[in-house]
């Protein structure tokens, strides 16, 4: 088992990690917008 295995879809693990952090950012923005729009 190698820890340098290439990930599926993306060419590096860094891209997967950025996806996770990007998704977090998008969700925070979306939830903030919901809070501002309806509160």
């Amino acid at each position: 088992m190698s820890d340098n295995e290439t990930p599926p879809i993306f060419s590096s693990w860094k891209q997967w990690y950025w996806l996770v952090l990007g998704a977090l950012l998008v969700q925070v923005v979306l939830y903030f917008w919901l809070t501002q729009s309806f509160a």
Partner: protein, 567 residues
């Protein structure tokens, strides 16, 4: 509950138990029993991680939390994706390279046996108490709802879990969790849809969202920095990252989930799966609570949601007071209902001034309702001394039993049982693995056949399950007990995380320095607990910071030991 509900409930639970036993029969080696033969694909790992974390309390309490406090609890999970990335980058490759069965084995490779044993024992104390609560909380609620003695629901859930966890080990836990999570999420979403369809016809989905927002339930994100505020974006991102790093990176009940992967890539993808889906999942559960809140704007909610306890109180001398409060509550609801209708009209005409005025009006009625509810709680406490009057955990289940059709009621009860079983299974499996690998195999019997260790692991599973059942059955002071276990968790988690952070990131610190640092840090935390009024959540940070700083100081004065450092 009619025969249809019982059929759905019993059928679902039996399917899970029989499937778990049948699919994992013949697990004989430690690899297969404790790591599932490293056969888990990324999606199974992700599902297993989510199912282990989400106990029955999550599904009983979270909708009630949204009804009472809005959706701001969601921010608690904002640190989770960050923790998933850190664990994928640092911890997963090391655990795989060393082919460990438990996270604590790594500590012996990195430090020494005494540090490994210390961390393993701290984990066993923590998780052993927690397994009791994982079992106790749903047992209490289900016993109240079903009218059964708590000892029956406790033993029933415990025995069901024992059957398939002893039979199939880690693989049985993961295989059953995918069905359990499907049942849980399917049942919860169905309940949310039904809550919406039971609203008056003129109320659209947009109206529901706007009503919830106007009445303060869509308070999803707050950027205000306030140390006394439990849920805001800063506490979620900073304290949440620490907490989830500790839970997913060093707690064997989670580490075991991703150590069962076929490769580092599958484990990383499983963690990424959790990092991407956990917050949306919590959003859905909280939003279901919001829909139930909107439902109760158009339908009168009970003044006290633990109906069984209230009925008992009605048999006492406090009955007249409770009847009086009931009448006041009924009268108040009629007035609130009129105010809600006016608010809906204002929303339909998009009259901003009227919307603000009518929302304030409804909010003032809600405040009066809360005051009556508080009076009911204190009256019940007077009527039945020592009774648990916190009824938040009963709100959602009470809604299910009162308003949902037969069949769905059985499904939703199956959801609660499934959630209790899935998290309990993960915990028992981790407790047995750690006892077998880190204590029994390391300190008691170092050489034996794989079959012997599998048998020992099964025995430890049964022992831990029995302890959890005894703990849950004897526990009759729920509110204090849950707080007690949270305090115990905070007393030890900081020290464990500190040991692992030193192991991963401060290569020059060696075993003896970190071991004594951990002992002193633990003593410091216990001193803070005994002699100061510091909030117990801060013990996590105090313990962690103390291990890191004291070990660095000790290492400066200690001779360097020659040891291969694992990087």
């Amino acid at each position: 509950m009619n025969y249809l509900d019982w059929s759905v409930l019993v059928g679902t639970i039996l399917f899970i138990v029989v499937y778990g036993v049948w699919k994992t029969r013949g697990n004989k080696t430690m690899e297969s029993y404790l790591k599932g033969d490293n056969s888990m694909k990324w999606w199974m790992i992700g599902v297993s991680i989510m199912a282990t974390q989400a106990s029955a309390v999550t599904f009983l309490s979270t909708p009630g939390q949204a009804i009472e406090d809005g959706m701001r609890f969601l921010q608690f999970y904002f640190g989770l994706p960050i923790a998933m990335v850190i664990i994928s980058v640092t911890m997963v490759p090391i655990y795989y390279r060393l082919k460990v069965f438990t996270a604590y084995e790594y500590l012996e490779t990195r430090f020494d046996v005494k540090t490994r044993s210390l961390a393993a024992i701290l984990f066993l104390i923590l998780r052993g108490l927690s397994a009791g609560i994982t079992l106790f909380a749903p047992s209490l609620v289900l016993s109240t709802i079903l009218g059964w003695p708590i000892s029956i629901t406790t033993i029933l859930i415990g025995l069901l879990v024992i059957i398939y966890v002893i039979s199939g080990g880690t693989k049985a836990v993961s295989l059953t969790q995918r069905y359990q999570l499907t049942i849980i999420m399917g049942g919860m979403i169905l309940a949310g849809i039904l809550a919406f369809t039971m609203l008056p016809k003129e109320i659209s989905f947009g109206d529901s969202v706007q009503l919830a927002g106007e009445l303060g339930k869509l308070n999803l994100v707050s950027f205000k920095f306030d140390l006394s505020d439990r849920y805001n974006i800063w506490s979620g991102l900073i304290a949440g990252t620490f907490l989830f790093l500790s839970y997913f990176g060093t707690d064997q009940s989670q580490v075991a989930r991703y150590l069962g992967g076929t490769s580092v890539a599958e484990s990383r993808l499983g963690l990424i799966f959790n990092g991407l889906l956990k917050i949306p999942m919590q959003f859905i559960i909280l939003f279901i609570g919001v829909l139930v809140f909107v439902f109760y704007l158009f339908n009168q909610s009970p003044v006290f949601h633990n109906q069984v306890l209230k009925e008992k109180a009605m048999q006492t001398a406090q009955a007249d007071t409770l009847l009086l409060l009931d009448n006041r509550y009924n009268e108040l609801y009629k007035q609130k209902r009129t105010a809600v209708d006016h608010l809906v009209q204002a929303i339909h005409t998009n009259d901003k001034v009227a919307i603000e005025k009518e929302s304030d009006n409804v909010k003032s009625f809600q405040k009066s309702e809360t005051a009556i509810r508080d009076s009911v709680k204190s009256t019940i406490a007077k009527a039945i001394p020592g009774a648990k009057t916190q009824d938040r955990d009963y709100i959602f289940l009470n809604f299910v039993l009162s308003y949902l059709p037969h069949g769905i009621i059985g499904l939703l009860l199956a959801v609660m049982f499934s959630a209790a079983m899935s998290s309990m299974a993960g915990e028992l499996n981790a407790l047995a693995s750690t006892t077998t690998v880190d204590i029994y195999k390391r300190a008691v019997k170092q050489t034996a056949t794989p079959e012997h260790y599998v048998t020992a692991s099964k025995l430890f599973t049964a022992i831990w399950a029995m302890l959890a059942m005894i703990f849950a059955t004897l526990a009759s002071f729920a509110e204090n007990l849950i707080q007690f276990v949270n305090i115990v968790g905070s007393l030890f988690y900081g020290t464990i995380l500190g040991i692992f952070l030193v192991a991963f990131y401060i290569k020059r610190v060696q075993g003896t320095a970190v071991f004594w640092a951990a002992i002193i840090a633990e003593a410091l935390v216990l001193y803070c607990f005994k002699y100061t009024s510091i909030a117990y959540l801060l013990y996590n940070i105090i313990g962690c910071a103390a291990v890191i700083s004291i070990s660095l100081i000790f290492q400066t004065f200690m001779p360097s030991q020659k040891k291969n450092v694992i990087e």
